[in-house]
Symmetry: C2
Subunit: 458 residues, 2 copies
């Protein structure tokens, strides 16, 4: 008998296209195995397709191998030979009538992923095993597809991808706590002969490339040594930071809107099974929420107007944890969510923030009080994207950097005197975007091996 | 007059498709400007297309603005309004008859990128400006396209992209010098409450994902604190590390060959102008070499046989710097290049290396002396890819790790007792692949902001 080797995805594809398949050889893992003495069923998956394949073994067919096959355990790696049987009236379009199964890899008795439902907290302790659990299997697949969405969006629009450095002597925001990069020995900074740390943002490094290619983006890991034990903060996370030249804040907001919609649509198109799973098991409002975003024009509201609206809400009896709404304050998540969820019920760009609460590189508006920043707020999450038009005027930027005692950025200032032009960009936290698109609520559950304070087993 | 705003790439595209374009508005930068008193020519580029656009201004047409326009300097950001004139008999298919030009960003007199030819060494000192120089403009574009080639190759083959962690408590190879990740204060490792360092490889972290998805890959930055001042070593570099389950060394070599050919073909297709530039200006053998690889079946040669061949070469009078060819030695670049260039003149997989010179996780062959490793050697570079089948047998792997006094990898061993199976993978240094494909000979010239010992200005 000639058994054709297949991955599950290709087998599903062939059958969905009504192509004839007969005898197949499948390698993969056992999700469950149950039998009644004369017939048994293995839920089988090789990781290439969301749905399992059912392997059906009968005493009649596998004969003396029956007891061997019925003893196969959850998690074991197997090689199955059998015949494809179409089952157009069942939920699954086909099953495999088993001729024989070999065990390629056993599982020891302490295998932590048993059939029962495990808590996310427990699964976090076995980050190397949890990709086999349904939720995480779906999640990391979506993570991969979402990363590809980002690249396709920018590359099809002729953006140039720039690998900005991880080790740097700059601390972009001039504020965040950073991890140092050291070597053993008397002088921990001897390797580079100066203080260096892990990057907190690729923006400053990518701006000079925008002045060569007009449209560029970074997509890589960034780091914050903040000891924030929240569901939304990790010490290591991936950021997407595009930068466009000859562009202002409006161009920036258009790009953000296009990018976010593209990503959502891409994932819905490429991962229908996974997204259906998240909508069923994790967040029943997920699909509605994402479709609502796809069909919304994002609103634009000034910070100043938002403060008025929040003040009105307080006057009308709404209670925030921080109820002291004053112009100049940094908005908290509760305020941001109130704006996007209760006032507008759609994605909202807040723009023109007080310069004091925003980064030094943002362009000063003509009022001399606010800067051309935009934060995208979305329902159920709050801030998803932060962007700004950059200060392209050499003198103003230099003055601002002096006010803030920033040094060592002469090269950055250079870009303002060597053919500079207006330009803008933004940053998306990739892990938070993934949380938003899947409905997962803890950043520890969307990273392969999350890095948060006090926890690093791998 | 209605001037339609265009990027250069879109304008070239329209004209190549014989679509009518009349009056245009172009934003970009001046490469050169020369005039003879009544007519002048600006070589103009906005970064979206390799070829410049020629802007032609005449006294007759721009009148009193002539002296303003003739004063525009190399590097300045400009906005040009003009009319597209087709020039089918010239090298460039069209030019712009200027109506007016506004300067958006001037350059100060110390602008380092003048019209003359600059050395790569000089340009390394201005990493934030060199993307505007022809070679680097072409190079970072190819870098971006090559990164996309990697993602497209793996994603169209249904591999799952995994972001393996940068900060880790493991030192994969058990050998390399690592950078530590610390915070300020009495205990530099207090943040994670244990010693942590920058990853030297994502392989160990990605293997568990191969046992969930069958086909996975990483693509991210890795680090080595080696003080090697060579043209091929950097402290920070990007690595691609795929891993495939139910696969042996032959499957691995097939995947490597497919991947390398796909990348070369992709770049040749998407960057014809840039690749032509490299072939003309950097390495006149480049195209021949790449096409030769595309059309070669890669040879497979055992390490043991290679040692015999090298011994024969020495007997026949060939002089290596290290002429002492003995079984068990680690091959140097001179040996590798001799094999691929002189003996076979095509890409060669060397396989089955002595276990002592290879990593602990490689699968022991039945001879008990060699491991199922493969290094891909290519002409003019030497080693380009390193791969292996992994030791999937729990007892053998555990024993090898004990011999090498390796600790803290229980989670890695777990994967061998929880439904493990044969699997294999490889690593490609992305920066070296880029050097190979462009003919550039120094890793400092293919990274946006290279990180090598003693040099970190940005």
């Amino acid at each position: 008998m000639d058994y054709l080797k297949f991955d599950n995805d290709k087998l599903y594809e062939k059958i969905q296209h009504n192509e004839k398949v007969d005898y197949v050889l499948l390698n993969g893992w056992v999700r469950t195995n149950r039998d009644n003495g004369s017939i048994g069923f293995i839920e089988f998956n090789d990781g290439t397709y969301f749905n399992n394949i059912q392997l059906v073994y009968t005493l009649e067919n596998v004969k003396e191998n029956y007891s061997k096959i019925k003893a196969i355990k959850t998690g074991e790696a197997i090689s199955c030979k059998g015949k494809v049987i179409l089952t157009p009236n069942n939920r699954q379009p086909f099953e495999i009538q088993v001729d024989d199964i070999d065990v390629l890899g056993t599982v020891s008795d302490d295998y932590p992923l048993q059939k029962k439902r495990h808590s996310f907290e427990f699964l976090r302790e076995i980050a190397h095993i949890r990709p086999r659990a349904n939720t995480f299997y779906a999640l990391y697949k979506v993570r991969s597809v979402l990363a590809m969405a980002i690249h396709e969006f920018f590359q099809t629009n002729n953006f140039v991808y720039v690998h900005t450095p991880i080790i740097t002597s700059n601390d972009c925001e001039g504020a965040g706590q950073v991890f140092d990069v050291t070597t053993k020995g008397k002088d921990p900074f001897s390797f580079f002969k100066q203080h260096v740390n892990l990057t907190v943002s690729g923006q400053l490094h990518v701006e000079p490339f925008a002045l060569a290619y007009k449209k560029v983006y970074t997509f890589g890991p960034t780091f914050r040594a903040e000891n924030s034990n929240t569901p939304r903060h990790a010490a290591e996370f991936w950021m997407i930071e595009p930068e466009i030249a000859f562009a202002d804040l409006n161009d920036d907001m258009k790009l953000i809107q296009d990018c976010v919609k593209y990503c959502i649509k891409y994932v819905l198109d490429k991962c229908p099974n996974e997204m259906n799973f998240f909508n069923t098991m994790i967040d029943k409002t997920l699909m509605d929420r994402l479709n609502h975003v796809l069909n919304s024009d994002f609103k634009v509201v000034t910070y100043t107007h938002a403060i008025d609206l929040l003040s009105d809400a307080v006057k009308n009896g709404h209670k925030f944890e921080n109820n002291n709404i004053v112009w100049g304050m940094d908005l908290q998540s509760e305020h941001e969510r109130y704006i996007t969820e209760h006032i507008f019920n759609c994605p909202v760009f807040l723009i023109d923030y007080p310069k004091e609460i925003k980064a030094f590189y943002m362009r000063l508006n003509d009022d001399n009080k606010t800067v051309a920043a935009c934060d995208l707020l979305v329902p159920s999450v709050g801030e998803l994207v932060g962007g700004s038009q950059r200060e392209e005027r050499y003198d103003l930027l230099k003055k601002r950097m002096e006010e803030l005692n920033m040094n060592g950025l002469d090269w950055y200032l250079d870009t303002r005197k060597y053919g500079g032009c207006k330009h803008a960009g933004f940053g998306i936290g990739f892990d938070r975007l993934l949380m938003y698109i899947t409905g997962m609520s803890n950043i520890r559950d969307v990273q392969p091996y999350p890095r948060t304070a006090n926890s690093i087993k791998y």
